[in-house]
Symmetry: C2
Subunit: 249 residues, 2 copies
């Protein structure tokens, strides 16, 4: 492995005390466009295997900078956890001849128990095996392995959805610390050339969770997560249909 | 999978404000004996696949009880992360015809760069791929897959070592929150009967880390950990040979 990598910090707004959810839709869409531009630029350099986008807000989320910002890290390897996710998507595709995430969107929309929000282009879901209380995943309805394919119209739509979900969390949990994490496929050319992963099988999505509990000895020892809030209750709450379910254990 | 499990809380001491490192060696050895007794009792019930022992101290470690305590959780499955570790030990054994951890102890003792402490029966090592600043692993010198084999003499020896390491951390980091996590093989009978894992290939050990940094978006997204303190510096510091290395990023 080459000793190479990249780390970029995107300043979300010049205003020090704002959160993403405080930005007008157009300004938030511009942040998403900037992220897409930088991801594409890093991928075009050709040396990376994976590009990780994430946001840490508030001290308990692990943030070391207070000013609103988003980070991009490009790595020369596919992180083991990402590889496991891609492999699981591959196995599902080989079994079902369709995308695991496309199927998830369809089933969750139909069941309508864990669906938080849906627009013309995106679905927000409280995943059935949520690790964290009020965890939400946002997925594009149209299958796309990588975030870099996001276009302007999708950016506006995603900005609207992020504003709604982060705004609800901000109001409900008194401006909580949170993490926002992109999960996507390997860099497209990397997948295609190595032949070790089925290119295009992954379906990018954002994972968002307010930091209300902490990983403790059990989680570190097993990789299993104790979550006291059922995702169905989290979805009802985030849709505004139910009062808060206590997240303390 | 059966919907079955067990969760026990061991009160380490009647004194509310003490840490394990404040206990006399004999009292700490008694806590270890109690843990061993309860692990054996749970294993004897015959339904579990894995027994997880852990300790959360301080709010940032995830502790929800202030009084000094240790927890035991028995699960009807081998957690995925534990299975990955056991599989890695199996692969190493098949390749080298010896235990990965026995070899690690030998090599780390010989190199003497990351060795924190060594007694007649245990070695404490700052692992070369530490996830957390000042992470320490304590391993029995004599190969043993499961904690339940700990005998009285070993218990006294382990108590002495724990007192020294936790005491050093307590003094250095002003009584920090920490996690202590047992890693061990599957329940012995479970391994033997299922035939899916090479019984006896694992080598139990304790993992200890003060909570000085937090998992953030990058860690949650990739499973990779950013650790600003090299294990060699951590080992020197914990041996008392070097001043503190700043753990902030």
């Amino acid at each position: 492995m080459d000793g190479i990598g990249a780390h970029e910090v995107i300043i979300d707004t010049p205003l020090h005390s704002l959160d993403l959810s405080d930005l007008p839709t157009a300004a938030l869409a511009e942040v998403l466009r900037m992220i897409g531009d930088r991801v594409r630029a890093l991928e075009a350099e050709g040396w990376s295997a994976y590009v990780q986008v994430f946001k840490n807000k508030g001290e308990a989320s692990g943030a070391s900078i207070v000013h609103p910002h988003t980070q991009i890290v490009a790595t020369p390897l596919i992180p083991g956890q990402v590889r496991d996710e891609i492999r699981a998507a591959e196995r599902a595709f080989k079994r079902d001849h369709r995308c695991l995430f496309c199927r998830l969107i369809e089933e969750e929309t139909s069941a309508d128990e864990r669906l938080v929000r849906r627009s013309d282009r995106f679905a927000a879901i409280a995943p059935f095996a949520s690790r964290f209380p009020y965890e939400v995943h946002i997925l594009p309805l149209l299958h796309a392995p990588n975030f870099s394919s996001l276009n302007g119209g999708e950016g506006i739509d995603l900005a609207d959805m992020l504003r709604a979900i982060l705004g609800r969390m901000k109001a409900a949990f008194s401006d909580p610390p949170y993490n926002l994490v992109l999960h996507q496929g390997a860099r497209p050319d990397f997948s295609a050339t190595r032949g070790i992963l089925l290119p295009g099988v992954f379906h990018w999505h954002l994972e968002i969770f307010p930091v209300l509990t902490r990983a403790a000895g059990f989680e570190w020892g097993t990789g299993l997560f104790i979550n006291p809030v059922p995702p169905e209750a989290a979805a009802r709450f985030l849709r505004g249909e139910q009062e808060l379910v206590q997240a303390e254990i």
